[in-house]
Subunit: 474 residues, 2 copies
Amino acid sequence: PANAGKKAPKKSAAAKQEGQKFVLKTPRGMVDYGTEQMAVRRSVFDKIVSVFLLHGAMTIDTPVMELKETLTGKYGEDSKLIYDLADQGGELLALRYDLTVPFARFVAMNRLKAIKRYHIARVYRRDNPQMTRGRYREFYQCDFDIAGTYDRMVPDCECIRIVTEILTKLEMGEFIIKVNNRKILDGMFAVCGVPEAKFRAICSAVDKLDKEPWETVREEMVDEKGLDPAAADRIGRYVVLKGGRGCDKSAMELLKELQSDQALMADPRAKEGLEDMRLLLEYCVDFGALDHVSFDLSLARGLDYYTGVIYEAVLCGENVGSVAGGGRYDGLVGMFDPAGEQVPCVGVSIGIERLFAIIEKREKAKGTIKKSPTEVLVAAAPKGLLKERLSVCRELWDNGIRAETSYKSNLNLTKACKNAESLGVSIAVIVGASEWEQGTVGVKRLTQDEAQRKQVTVKKEELVAVLKDWIAKL
Amino acid sequence: PANAGKKAPKKSAAAKQEGQKFVLKTPRGMVDYGTEQMAVRRSVFDKIVSVFLLHGAMTIDTPVMELKETLTGKYGEDSKLIYDLADQGGELLALRYDLTVPFARFVAMNRLKAIKRYHIARVYRRDNPQMTRGRYREFYQCDFDIAGTYDRMVPDCECIRIVTEILTKLEMGEFIIKVNNRKILDGMFAVCGVPEAKFRAICSAVDKLDKEPWETVREEMVDEKGLDPAAADRIGRYVVLKGGRGCDKSAMELLKELQSDQALMADPRAKEGLEDMRLLLEYCVDFGALDHVSFDLSLARGLDYYTGVIYEAVLCGENVGSVAGGGRYDGLVGMFDPAGEQVPCVGVSIGIERLFAIIEKREKAKGTIKKSPTEVLVAAAPKGLLKERLSVCRELWDNGIRAETSYKSNLNLTKACKNAESLGVSIAVIVGASEWEQGTVGVKRLTQDEAQRKQVTVKKEELVAVLKDWIAKL
């Protein structure tokens, strides 16, 4: 954050004069992003959007606020984290908590039967902010969803393929995409002897297995949620099973094992879920995504609304939790539709704030953040020549070359070049009084690399061509 | 808006069951933007950002909320239009009303001495929405500002140059950039006999001259604001003066006229303002922007915080009011700085919502909106071949070609091609069972233009090369 490491906020002079307690700060849990961070963010956004576009996705935009009642009853006990607007007369409003509920509202309200959309926007949660761990009250979500009635598992698999493309494009190193299916989980719960009414509670306990050991989770099931210890033990034997990336057996092998588990296959949900999984793994082969996939019976996901496939991506090299997650939710649009009509959906949310944090750290360490978009600094030697510099800038702008000059007459050439270089500007045009009269200017490569350093004198009318050539070779 | 022309919102099935009054709508004065509108908006944003980048501007991001006290006392009587957050414990917050105050807060809080930044983001006003006229309660602002202590009028002129580049790039036709200076206005008011305490009130009356005739404005000055009628008449003789684009005399000629007005030149503010104007016009020549400029003494701008140059762009072909405006505001950052230190600023705000509205209408009329980013539809003849299509998609994605296929086995080729074409997809790859076995696929140009229509059969291993060639020639 741009204000990280700053001293405690001070009162402004105006506030002091008025004797008020005026504090210069951003709201709790929210931060400014300065130019350097935004340079990283913009490049990450661009890469992610390019993947969405590769898959023909279109974007929509919804208001940052929704009617309070649109959000009511969608987030369970997290509802207390929703930011409400003050009642200033008129409708009761709240800030969006995620992008999925507004998407479902949009699909229902516009009576869409099918849409493939991405949406990158900020959401708001009155959570306890943990700024050092990158958990804020205002943060970006980056969602891709496919709504529509289609052949089983085809759009689901495209979501997995998209995760592989994004993590590869962002050079996140090795990663695993864990997959499971709520139908398999429900079937497994039934087979283990969990009463139907406890499915969601037990599911949310299983969800903690990526952070807690089995003993703790078992305790929660038995002591807190009143599950029969024998049922918990049966669940314990299932949730250790996994196959695929990073495992001894392949995902297909685990699938076959489970499909020969007669108790499990006797449950229609489990049977259907396993058939889903077979199709999903097959399509993963067609899409070239299977290498990254692990079929993992301990994956449960927190949200209540999933109805089928669920998945979650984790990086092998970083201990940051999941960096993408999602699944199928076939019931949400129907909660908004006037006729209760369902539109099946599947989607994935990219954990963009976690990725930002990792990439920002990496780029900073490498020193590769190009802070300024400028390609060419227009400077003068020794000083002055402001109007000449402005006319050079004009010519460069007219020709689409990103150029800047100092807004001061009185500038120090060496300092200006050094400063520009530190911001990532690669070339300087140097205007000199006598050269200008002779119709020439200097062009200099700004770099620490001795081998690449050079300076030439070119005719004014050849300047644009020379610069374009140098820029193309950068 | 995506929901324009929709019927009245209906209650959802769930709400009916519960007997609640559940309404499916967006908040009053706010709208969803569908995929087609977003396609236009994205392309407009990209063009505008490319101009900012040409000038070396960097972007920042600030929270959508500010402490309530940060916004207090900045907007005069418009403060009543600010959206407050509910008091849920903790700080009192409000949604940002514009991007300028958060920018000044950012500069002061980070103790910046200089920054050139652009910021495109949404702001919030509890105004009376006029949806048919495109006035919403949530809308985008698009600001470019230069903060720092520099030679007079140089950054000011770059703002004007940026407006010319943006309006030209967006193909908005002929336009005029009206320029004036608050110092000239203040000097003129003094010379005409306006008491100092009435400067801002009289200035805001002058601001109405683009909508109201002089008589009405004079009435406001005399009857409402208690100005001596003789003073009003003297103002009346000044505010008709203009020179430059669309006028009989040039801006330079008007400047010379005013600089030989001894009464005016006796006022130090007017004298300084006219010298500013001389410099500005000179730099406009260097920047190749003078052709669009009109020096117009009736230009006043509404906001109180301007301290120098002011400008406003209007389109000659459209009667939509100003499409860009701004000026110099040297006092705002000091209102936030703990030591009251000033950082001079000049900036311009692009009226992006008005431009969107014009461009959207134009593109719709031309039928040139490419709704889908997809380049290649992967289809099958006659039906099925889902896995084959998926593997073709995979190859195209691997090679950076934007491709889609239907998520259904059972698709109608003719219908699929027609639908894709209507969304702006230009090429279809057609997979056939026997051709697939022989290692070939069909490639077809989707177009209404008979001359361009063609279909060829290519070897699978040549498909990517053929598609890249076709796409390059689109």
